[in-house]
Symmetry: C2
Amino acid sequence: MIEKLALIGIGLIGSSIARGARQAGLAKTIAIATRREETLDEARELGLGDIYTTDAAEAVEGADLVILCSPVGTYEALARRIGPHLKPGAILSDVGSVKEHVVNVVGPHVPEGVHFVPGHPLAGTEHSGPAAGFAALFKNRWCVLTPPEGTDPEAVDKLAAFWRGLGSNVETMPAGHHDLVLAITSHVPHLVAYNIVGTVDDLEHATKSEVIKFSASGFRDFTRIAASDPVMWRDVFLTNRDAVLEMLGRFLEDLSVLQRAVRVGDGEALEELFTRTRAVRRSIIEAGQETAAPDFGRPHENGTSS
Amino acid sequence: MIEKLALIGIGLIGSSIARGARQAGLAKTIAIATRREETLDEARELGLGDIYTTDAAEAVEGADLVILCSPVGTYEALARRIGPHLKPGAILSDVGSVKEHVVNVVGPHVPEGVHFVPGHPLAGTEHSGPAAGFAALFKNRWCVLTPPEGTDPEAVDKLAAFWRGLGSNVETMPAGHHDLVLAITSHVPHLVAYNIVGTVDDLEHATKSEVIKFSASGFRDFTRIAASDPVMWRDVFLTNRDAVLEMLGRFLEDLSVLQRAVRVGDGEALEELFTRTRAVRRSIIEAGQETAAPDFGRPHENGTSS
């Protein structure tokens, strides 16, 4: 049980934490800080917290757990601002999609006696803003914590217990390793999805209209991925550059091979790859990271999702 | 109302047509032909038709509407085999994902007096086989017909009425144009999804296990696309080569620009693209081609899909 929880930023993730913590009784008082008055008003109308302020320093005053839930690009300035106001013994965490960068920019501003435990819940939808959040967002999803060496294990345990209270499975790993794994599971797929939607957007007008009209499986799914929050994703690519370029390089090498197979009509190579990739899908479903329902469980008419 | 409908191939699409036609009372008799005995037995156990045979020529005997529902790579041999057995006045159609190639390889085997009207229902899931089909698969989905010049308009109308009976919206366009639109909405996205899943499959073992374990939005969605039928997709890339290479070329050009933006840290260019792509998503939802439910409407715990 946390006496005072401070959430800095109240978009999809922040508001889902607020709702989940409230529902599971994980925090006595929830303080919400966000820069824009309108967003704060929206959070207040949704009844997400107990204290509302546009000043992050005020929100963290006396808080036992502070979680940065704003875009990663805002972290450095925020850390500088709130650092002197953090309570001794408090835990400072975040929900950013990159971790090494966060350690580098936030770490120097964390005062002695405050426990800095970066985190990343692997959960989200393509919607943004306080109203998009929901308490069950983190249920059965992973939350990865990347405590720097020498972090107090008790603080890590306390934060892990908080995330488990929200329904997450918690795992700990080095920040650099997190960034590499996420580069290929999340960052490069998003880059590719954004890219293909951009390619369509650049088509001559008539073709583009037809692409939208006849949007089929494949492109349609990419557009969902490419509808994610632009500022958050800009920051991901600005701050996880090396891992993204490394994985993008591998992806492009493989795509050249595939392009050649299409050009020379190498059916065997194509079928071999297309068969191999099915097995990866099965592993992910077995690992409980996905539903086996067809079409992502999109609703179909006449009852079942199939 | 069709007196006798013959379906050559009874996978996801063929079996969905059989179920839909039965449910809507579109055909008096349904003949099902497929090469493999086991698949035929499965179709029989599911009660999908009235006549079951491994000989396509036998199935088309006396049929008013014949639809090829097997992989595109089988069409030429099939057309040669069934051509002489087609009833004068019959309509021959198909469901292949490419159309110019189908016109080229099937067209020469269509006897005088038979109406050849190629078709492509823009519907599917990542599952294959007779059991994966369902009657509502085509509801509110497009079916594109690509009749060659000079085709009897009455035959086109009759086939269009059949697809409308299955719940589809029907549109007619030239085969080459269909292939270009589908290259960017479906074929290149599938190629890219297959490719990224292949890249992961090639990672060193430890990293690969973690990628599967922590599979997040993005990659997880790509694996669904990359779980589609390997033989069908091999044939797509072998038979729509030029349009795929043209669109893949544009995609790669754009990706080079994006790669550079990541490398030099051009946040403005990234944000501009990521904002622009959201609008394309909105257009697709407005066009009724997609659900606005978050996460593709994947089921979440605690009730709603959000």
